[in-house]
């Protein structure tokens, strides 16, 4: 299952291109608490290199946006963070989380993903009731009383700002929800596991502006308790909600900085071009 958005180019094309200058914000310089960081991360689909350079660190309880044109490697990068690419790609390099390299064979991928959750571009609720959508993953690996489950459902739906709309029809099929509601249910479903980090892959690109705004509000609300990394095509969105922004270009992270710096005074010319709409 390759991501259709990724334009696959052979490695040679990247190398022929003269490596442009880069600027990567140094997390270690200040008093930042790093939630997750990558080192020498490279992703190949078959013999095609989709991500060649992406050493980034992400601060805890902050929102970081990943921006860039289609095929720039931002989605590939995001999906590699909780190893969703394992089945389709070869991922090399280190992903440091809580002092562990989670990109190694002795890590239990499934347990890791419970702490690094993910939400996708298209809402993908299970063909189950709203209630079961949220409790399903929990009951798979633990014993909960009915009361505990009820409470978790309520809290996570509230966190995702969906509780008021669905509290009377928790047993209804989740497939009947509108796109915006479904996406927030998916977020609630991820939150029910109480993850550390939440990865979002263009969570609002398939939604209308109102639903999109609701999702954004939800994310800002969640920042208190979660580290959020979000891929977005929408630069206003990135500017509105994120603390940090990383710009990807042709499989490389070109510039990574505080959001306000990126959007006001980018240090790399390419970033400027992209933000001002000159390409992409």
């Amino acid at each position: 299952m390759t991501n259709p958005n990724i334009d696959l180019k052979p490695l040679s094309e990247f190398i022929v291109d003269e490596a442009p200058e880069r600027y990567i914000y140094d997390m270690n310089s200040g008093k930042h608490e790093v939630a997750i960081a990558t080192k020498g991360l490279q992703v190949r689909y078959g013999d095609k290199l989709a991500l060649s350079e992406g050493d980034l660190s992400f601060e805890r309880y902050k929102i970081t946006s990943l921006i860039g044109a289609s095929g720039s490697g931002k989605s590939t990068f995001l999906r590699s963070l909780n190893r969703m690419n394992d089945d389709v790609a070869t991922v090399s390099g280190k992903i440091m989380y809580r002092g562990l390299d989670i990109n190694s064979a002795d890590i239990d991928v499934y347990e890791m993903r419970r702490h690094i959750g993910m939400v996708f571009q298209r809402p993908n609720p299970f063909a189950k009731s709203i209630y079961d959508n949220i409790t399903f993953a929990l009951t798979q690996r633990g014993r909960y009383t009915k009361e505990q489950l009820d409470e978790i459902v309520e809290t996570s739906l509230k966190q995702a700002a969906l509780w008021d709309q669905v509290k009377d029809e928790l047993n209804k099929s989740a497939l009947a929800l509108s796109g915006g509601q479904a996406q927030r249910l998916v977020i609630a479903r991820a939150l029910a596991l109480k993850p550390d980090i939440l990865l979002l892959d263009e969570p609002s690109s398939a939604l209308d502006p109102i639903s999109s705004a609701q999702v954004e509000d939800t994310l800002l609300e969640l920042k208190k308790d979660y580290t959020i990394i979000i891929v977005t095509h929408n630069m206003q969105q990135a500017a509105r909600i994120s603390d940090y922004t990383a710009f990807f270009h042709m499989g490389r992270a070109i510039e990574y900085d505080l959001t306000r710096k990126i959007f006001t005074r980018p240090k790399v010319a390419l970033t400027n071009d992209y933000i001002s709409g000159n390409f992409g």
Binding site: M1, M84, Y110, R113, R114, N124, F126, A127, N171, L193
Partner: protein, 294 residues
Amino acid sequence: MNAKLADKIATTVIYVIAGMVALVLFSMLGFILVQGLPHLSWHFLTSPALSFEAGGGIGIQLFNSFYLLVLAMVISFPIALGAAIYLNEYAKKSVWTNIIRTAIEILSSLPSVVVGLFGFLLFVVQFKFGFSILSGAIALSIFNLPLLTRSIETSLAQIPYLQREAGAALGLSRWETVLHVVLPAAVPSIVTGVVLSAGRVFGEAAALIFTAGQSAPALNFMDWNPFNISSPLSPMRPAETLAVHIWKINSEGIMPDLNLVSAGASAVLIIVVLIFNFSARKLGMKLFKKLTSS
């Protein structure tokens, strides 16, 4: 105006073709039912067959057909399900998976008489199961496996990849996702596939002639202990099915009312397949509703 004319002619032609096909198909069904229905009675459906006198029924054959069907499904469904899951969820695209798929499809287009003979030499003779329900059920399972595997795999493939991603993102293994998310969502179409393949199994004759045998000894319907040879449940007794019965009386029958029995049995066969088809649709839709909500 030429294009318009062509459009009209083509539309008419398509209508005529569809009408003809519908006519052929309807008249075939009608023919079988008209021939056979008058002969159907409670007596015909429940009494044992008589080999050289008039007035025999198809009771035992009917029971045998259903019993064999159930056993064959019990054997083949879990295997087909497992194989379909592996092919659709775990197998990576490779030369080997291609070869396996081709092999399965070849098995499905193999004449069933070959499967029957294979079953005869291996189970009846080699394993000493004799002409028995057990041998027949295994042969039917072999006949059924490729069809069922294919149909289940198609059902699984119809469930969007997004659902599997969703499961994975929640820290569920592929197995858990398949078991609790993909399978329930695929159940309606799996059920439809199973019931349709049940229809095919029900009508299969060639694979059974040499395995379950062509005789239907009298059964004691008061004795449901599977360890007694005259019990209907005994897996070691020979069991002629309805389809085999039709084949047999058409080729070597000497009862005077042979044509009537054959027409009646054919009608019963068709009606059962009809019921399978309709219930497959109904059940599929009902299950879909039930599993997706509540």
